[in-house]
């Protein structure tokens, strides 16, 4: 479980996050949704320590991350997987080397054991026989899946996914969503997904927080979201004319 309490973050004069509080539950896919530029990714980057929040607390299973030094945070970071929007694969390494990389850095496994683990993780994301390809040789969906394989290679307790299905075709996007959901349940991890894709919300959103202009505007489940009467949320959920017509009916 990750608990965020009263997080504020500014970049110069621009306050990006305003007093955000939320509990991300273990074994569930917790979604942060909102329009582009609303501050979703900044929340995730504050939680993992890529940005330092100006004030507030970030607590990983009773460990107060926000007050830890870089060296103290290492223990938590080793249990954390992050899928980036652009996958962030190391382009000078093969697929297998990318997945093995966290193991090389932090485990005492032999090369053979690491290879086995990498193959297992790649198989888990339905990517077999790609071990020796370079990231440049992969499609967008394959890169995302390698990113997931790298994230789960260290058996993470926490999994962050930043726009996991942006730029993907609908079928691949659903496949990625399903994979995230399955892994969350299978390994009982705390998963946080940043998205603005309503299909993802309806597919995998166990718990949803809607961010509007840097503030948490609404929270609930995917079932609640369809009946919500919050104007900004309704405008976000029913953005297209087609959906507005359906809601009218």
């Amino acid at each position: 479980m990750i608990e965020v309490k009263n997080i504020n973050k500014s970049f110069g004069e621009n306050q990006v996050l305003k007093d955000i509080s939320f509990v991300f539950e273990q074994g569930k896919t917790n979604l942060i949704i909102g329009a582009s530029g609303s501050g979703k990714t900044t929340i995730a980057k504050c939680i993992v320590g890529l940005h330092e929040a100006d004030s507030g607390e970030i607590i990983y299973d009773e460990h107060e991350f926000s007050k830890m030094k870089f060296s103290e945070r290492k223990a938590i970071r080793k249990e954390l997987g992050f899928l980036f929007q652009g996958s962030a694969l190391f382009d000078s390494m093969t697929v297998e080397e990318n997945v093995m990389f966290p193991l090389r850095m932090f485990s005492d496994m032999s090369v053979e054991e690491m290879r086995e683990r990498a193959s297992f993780c790649l198989k888990r994301v339905n990517l077999e026989n790609t071990n020796h390809l370079l990231p440049a040789e992969l499609s967008g969906g394959m890169k995302k899946r390698v990113g997931i394989a790298r994230a789960i290679s260290v058996n993470p307790k926490y999994l962050f996914c930043d726009e996991p299905n942006s730029g993907l075709d609908p079928q691949t996007a659903i496949m990625i969503d399903d994979l995230i959901k399955e892994l969350t349940i299978e390994y009982n991890i705390t998963t946080i997904v940043i998205t603005h894709d309503m299909n993802s919300v309806m597919e995998i959103g166990d718990k949803v927080a809607f961010i509007y202009n840097g503030e948490k505007w609404w929270e609930g489940t995917k079932e609640d979201i369809l009946d919500a009467d919050n104007k900004e949320l309704v405008d976000f959920v029913y953005a297209s004319k087609f959906l507005k017509t359906l809601r009218g009916k």
Binding site: L89, F101, F106
Partner: protein, 244 residues
Amino acid sequence: MLFHIGRYFIMLSKIFSKPEKHSIYWRKTMREVMVLGIDSLPIIAIISIFMGAVVTIQTATNIEGSMIPMYLVGYTARQSVVLEFSCTMMSLILAGKIGSSIASELGLMRVTEQIDALEIMGINSKSYLIGPKIVALVFINPFLMFISMFLGIGGAWFAGVINSMISTSEFVYGIQYDFDPFSITYATTKMIFFAFLIASIPAYHGYFVEGGAQEVGRASTRAVVFTMIAILVINYAITQVMLI
């Protein structure tokens, strides 16, 4: 400007912290020795040979028919190659070749979030990415300098002999004439400082890139310009300290 100088020194302090896994850093350093150092050998060889040859031709042409002894062609070639060309000029050239490569590599890693990925894994990205480059260049560049000196003087001899400007015995006498071994210490000291600058300044510009491809390009250009200026300033400072 002060902000950048401060951030540069903070970056340096983070680079030289305890590595996560020594074996990985060692392998990465050896790879950088190959990529940044050994791969620069062809350009160093070509430039050194031809610059040495040009020094000989210019000197010989200028003193021809005068009272100045011809062995001074060898002496001049040695002095210019050892004191300035193989360390300072070669470092300026390497700043262009290696500096732009380091800045664009790290810049691209920054904009594609690869550096963020390292940080999230709990890896000290400055130490992992920049440390091996600095160590590799500080180690290999003095060797490149000695190769450049050897080839530069060789080129000077070849041009002098093939153009019948000077005999081999006169040239050899010239390069041995009034030789002070301290000049090698002076050149090596400069090369070590320059190698550090060639790795660290472009790394700074690449590591802290913000934006996209255009910014990476600009950072690469800035990196080369600032490295060259820093080399010239440090060259003056070391010369002032060591030779006066």
